[in-house]
């Protein structure tokens, strides 16, 4: 289980400290699919970074009883000057697995051809997205974090990604944050709305979306 207890995050700005997350409580059980609606700038990505552990909360506590991914398919999580292959090796070493085991999958899935051994710097945005998704799938996590809808090039590749994530890994927990109802309505069982730094729970995904719309009007 993942548990956030009274998590608050404050960032310093020129106009003084700004509270982005204000006393967030959240529990995620193994296998649960959780959607969080929030407008741009509502703190969605901050919340994802807190849950992933990349940033620490200003106060409060986060317990991770299950393994949690980095934000899925996040292109910023790899190094531009390294090749796709070097990025794969770094990530595998970081998570303590043998890169040779996942290499065939990543190379096949990302479908980069000779560019797999070229610096990421020279990749097109589609190639980056494919590598990012393939790397996210190379390490098995109990809970995947998804920040916004995954932009992964053409529709054929999108379908492949959805299959990997929602079919092959349907037993895993998911936390999706988005301002767009599409993925949350399709795949989540539980939904929250993030407004004013606070998380409100709603009995159904549709109820959450209705509340979200009244908030944004």
């Amino acid at each position: 289980m993942i548990e956030l207890i009274n998590v608050t995050k404050t960032y310093p700005t020129r106009q003084g400290p700004r509270t982005i997350l204000d006393g967030i409580d959240l529990q995620v059980e193994r296998g649960q699919k959780i959607g969080i609606f929030g407008r741009n700038g509502s703190g969605k990505s901050t919340l994802i970074r807190m849950i992933s552990g990349a940033e620490l909360p200003s106060s409060g506590r986060i317990r991770r009883g299950i393994s949690v991914s980095w934000p899925l398919a996040f292109g910023g999580a790899f190094q531009q000057y390294l090749t796709g292959f070097d990025n794969l090796r770094f990530i595998c070493r970081t998570y303590g697995i043998d890169y040779r085991e996942v290499m065939p999958f990543v190379e096949g899935f990302a479908d980069l051809g000779i560019y797999f051994r070229e610096p990421v710097l020279h990749y097109s945005s589609g190639m980056r997205a494919r590598l990012a998704f393939a790397l996210s799938m190379a390490i098995e996590f109990d809970c995947f974090l998804i920040d916004e809808i995954i932009a992964v090039g053409d529709s054929r590749f999108y379908d492949k990604c959805m299959y990997e994530l929602f079919e092959k890994r349907k037993d895993r927990a998911l936390i999706v944050v988005s301002h767009d109802p599409g993925m949350i309505k399709n795949y989540c069982d539980i939904a929250y709305v993030l407004t004013g730094g606070r998380l409100t729970y709603h009995p159904s995904v549709d109820a959450a979306f209705d509340f979200y719309q009244t908030c944004t009007q």
Binding site: R49, A54, L56, G76, Q79, D86, R89, R93, T94, Y95
Partner: protein, 266 residues
């Protein structure tokens, strides 16, 4: 601001070793690439610096008025400068280029600094050992009179460099001013560090002043180990160790605060 950790120490330690290992491999590839000498640059670069300084000092007759062999004098002096200066300079602004790696939870800010410090200490040490071995086998330098003392002095200088690296690295994360100030300070510390003089050459009034500079103690100790009773050295192990301990503590606090305040790009 108490963060309790549920992970047992031994497991955390294993994770940290794994992360530092991964960062070391990555740093070597990004810094030195796979072309030409590759990671050999790690110690070829400091060797080139030391060779250049040795040639300059020998040519300029910087050792006039002393009995000391210039090669040994330059190798011991400049190698110790490289040890602390490179650690600190490489740790300055070490976070921004590595920001994206921090998306992986187990990669922490401290690991970035430890990685760079390990690389610099290794590079300076290999350079020192290789150069000394070459000069000794050519007969241009005498073997150290007290090998253990040399080892001890080098260890203390490495500790000094590491703790300075944490302070400068952690400091630059809080304010870029630290980076701007560090470069002139490093430049000015070089002539004061004891690399180009022996404390004993100074009038006693200056000796008292110059002995406030911590690395002077390390360099003097290193030369005591090399030259033994042929020179008079002035140093205090206690002073240097105390200084290093305080610097380490300050550095760790700065690095911890930097880690708490980190703001990742999206």
């Amino acid at each position: 601001m108490a963060f309790r950790h549920d992970t047992p120490f031994i497991q955390s330690f294993r994770i940290q070793l794994r992360i530092i290992g991964a960062l070391l491999m990555r740093e070597i590839v990004t810094r030195y690439g796979r072309d030409n000498l590759g990671f050999l640059w790690l110690f070829v670069e400091p060797m080139m610096f030391t060779l250049g300084i040795t040639a300059l000092w020998a040519g300029a007759g910087a050792h006039r008025g002393t009995e000391l062999p210039i090669v040994a004098f330059a190798v011991t002096g400049y190698s110790s400068v490289l040890l602390w200066r490179n650690c600190a300079t490489r740790c300055a602004m070490a976070i921004p280029p590595n920001m994206s790696l921090l998306y992986h939870r187990n990669v922490r800010v401290l690991d970035l600094f430890i990685t760079r410090i390990l690389l610099e200490v290794t590079g300076a040490t290999i350079s020192f050992v290789v150069l000394s071995t070459i000069w000794i086998s050519l007969g241009w330098m005498e073997p150290p009179s007290d090998f253990l003392l040399v080892l001890f002095a080098w260890g203390l200088l490495a500790w000094f460099g590491s703790s300075l690296g944490l302070v400068i690295g952690g400091g630059t994360a809080h304010s870029e001013l630290v980076e701007r100030l560090w470069h002139p300070v490093a430049y000015l510390l070089f002539p004061l560090s004891g690399a180009a003089f022996m404390v004993d050459w100074m009038p006693s009034r200056f000796q008292a002043i110059v002995l406030w500079v911590p690395m002077v103690h390390g360099t003097e100790m290193l030369r005591d180990g090399f030259f033994g009773s042929t020179v008079r050295t002035h140093y205090s192990v206690e002073y240097l160790a105390l200084f290093c301990a305080l610097l380490t503590l300050t550095g760790l606090i700065l690095v911890r605060e930097a880690g708490r305040r980190i703001e990742l790009e999206t």
